[in-house]
Subunit: 90 residues, 2 copies
DNA sequence: CGGTATCCACATTGATACTG
DNA sequence: CAGTATCAATGTGGATACCG
C-alpha cells in the first residue's frame, strides 16, 4: 500500500522495496487487494505488453489511514522513518 | 482499541462487546498492548480491589488511526456501522 | 469477576525452485 | 520480467475447561 500510494506501479518496483517481500507473497497480496477493489491492473505506461497496478478510488481512500499510522509511528515509535512525506505538524 | 477509546475499562466490558472475544484472547491482547505501552492498568474506579485498563497517551494517539479506518469503512464498505461517532463530513 | 491453561484450526509469511 | 508452485515455520484466533 505504501508503494502504491507513492505511485509505484510495477511488480519489480514493489519487489525492490526494502522489505524484500517474496514474490509469492507479493503476488498473492496484489490479488487480494484486487479482490477487495483497492487495486486494479492497467496496461504498463511504457507501451510494452506488461502489466501495471494502480490504486482505485477506494484504494486511494486508504491514504489517510496510512498517513495516520505513519504519523503515530513517527511520534511514538523510535526509529520510525517516513517513506511518504509526513503531515505538517499541526 | 475501540472499546478503550470509548472509555471502557473493565475486562467484563470488553468481554461483553459484540465480537464475543474469548477470554484468553482478550487477556493476551491486553498484555500485548501493555507491553507496547499503549494500555496501562489502574485500580478500578469503584474502590474495590479490581483492576481496570486505560489508554496511555501513546494509546490515545491511536485514535486518529481508528477514526480513519472507521471513516474508510463507512465510505467504502457496505454494512459498516460506527461504534464511535463518525467525523463530520468535510 | 477476571483471568490461565490446553489444544486445535487456520491464516500468513517466507525460502526456494521453477516457468512462459 | 512477472509471476506460480511447494512446503515448512510461525502467528493468530477460537472453543473449552478450569481456578483464586
Amino acid at each position: 500500500m505504501r508503494d502504491l500510494l507513492l505511485g509505484r506501479a510495477r511488480f519489480k518496483e514493489f519487489s525492490a522495496s526494502p522489505e524484500r517481500i517474496p514474490t509469492n507473497i507479493l503476488s498473492e497480496r496484489l490479488e487480494r487487494l484486487r479482490g477487495a477493489g483497492v487495486v486494479e491492473r492497467i496496461p504498463a505506461a511504457d507501451g510494452t505488453k506488461r502489466l501495471a497496478y494502480r490504486l482505485t478510488r477506494k484504494g486511494l481512500g486508504l491514504g489517510p489511514i496510512v498517513a495516520a499510522v505513519r504519523d503515530w509511528g513517527l511520534k511514538w515509535e523510535p526509529g520510525t522513518k517516513a517513506a511518504i512525506a509526513a503531515a505538517p505538524r499541526a
